[in-house]
């Protein structure tokens, strides 16, 4: 069964450093998402992406964050200058079709630790 994959599984970085989290969505999916979960808190939406542009973003997704689909398979989340409060589990998700009719498929997550 096709899966969303994410690398690395765990990333440790120093405050102020740039990190890139990588995701490979399911191959025929067109709609892409990033969510995050701070330890002990709920899963929160960050950003969605379709047709090579951001479709929607949350207030969390400020100028320090960016997303890119650099080729036909990868979908990346970049944090330009990490803060301590960016420490969280980051989940990538994808869906084949638009809208609420279609469930999103999630990757296993990348745990980001900012020291």
């Amino acid at each position: 069964e096709p899966e969303v994959t994410q690398t690395p599984s765990h990333q440790v970085t120093q405050m102020g450093q740039e990190v890139i989290l990588r995701c490979v969505p399911i191959s025929n999916h067109l709609y892409f998402y990033w969510y995050r979960q701070i330890l002990g808190q709920k899963v929160e939406f960050l950003v969605s992406f379709y047709n090579n542009e951001i479709s929607e973003k949350s207030e969390i997704f400020d100028d320090q964050f960016s997303v890119e689909r650099p080729d036909g398979s990868n979908f990346t989340l970049k944090i330009r200058s990490t803060k301590l409060e960016d420490s969280a589990m980051y989940f990538c998700a994808s869906s084949e079709l638009a809208g609420f009719y279609n469930e999103q498929f999630f990757g296993p997550g990348t745990r980001l630790t900012v020291l």
């Binding site: 709609y31 969510y35 899963v43 929160e44 969605s48 638009a98 609420f100 469930e103 296993p108 997550g109």
Partner: protein, 116 residues
């Protein structure tokens, strides 16, 4: 604004007994509701969804959920729990966009523990 609430942090049930994991929702407009499960070191896995139609929705692994409009609830159920059902369960509501990406708004999660 759309939101869901999961009032129980943890639910404990004996194997073979029925289980219920509770979820209530608050939406403007029609509710589009989902249940996801998270096993250790795995991503969230889709279980089932309610979009419209029958109030009882059947999903993966023998789970079902009952949509109740008057009580604004979407409780997850299973007639006979298995130890392997032990995991973290998330209720979610869609923001309701139909023609583009559609974000999910999650509850805080309920840890289900099934003991032998």
């Amino acid at each position: 604004a759309q939101s869901v609430a999961q009032p129980e942090d943890q639910v404990n049930v004996a194997e073979g007994n029925p289980l219920t994991v509770k979820c209530t929702y608050s939406v403007s407009g029609n509710p589009y509701l989902f249940w996801y499960v998270q096993y250790p070191n795995r991503g969230l896995q889709f279980l089932l969804k309610y979009i419209t139609g029958d109030n009882l929705v059947k999903g993966s692994y023998g789970f079902e959920a009952e949509f109740n409009k008057s009580q604004t609830s979407f409780h997850l159920k299973k007639p006979s729990a298995l130890v392997s059902d032990s995991a973290l369960y998330f209720c979610a509501v869609s923001s309701g966009r139909s023609n583009n990406t559609d974000k999910l708004i999650f509850g805080t999660g309920t840890r289900l523990q099934v003991f032998p």
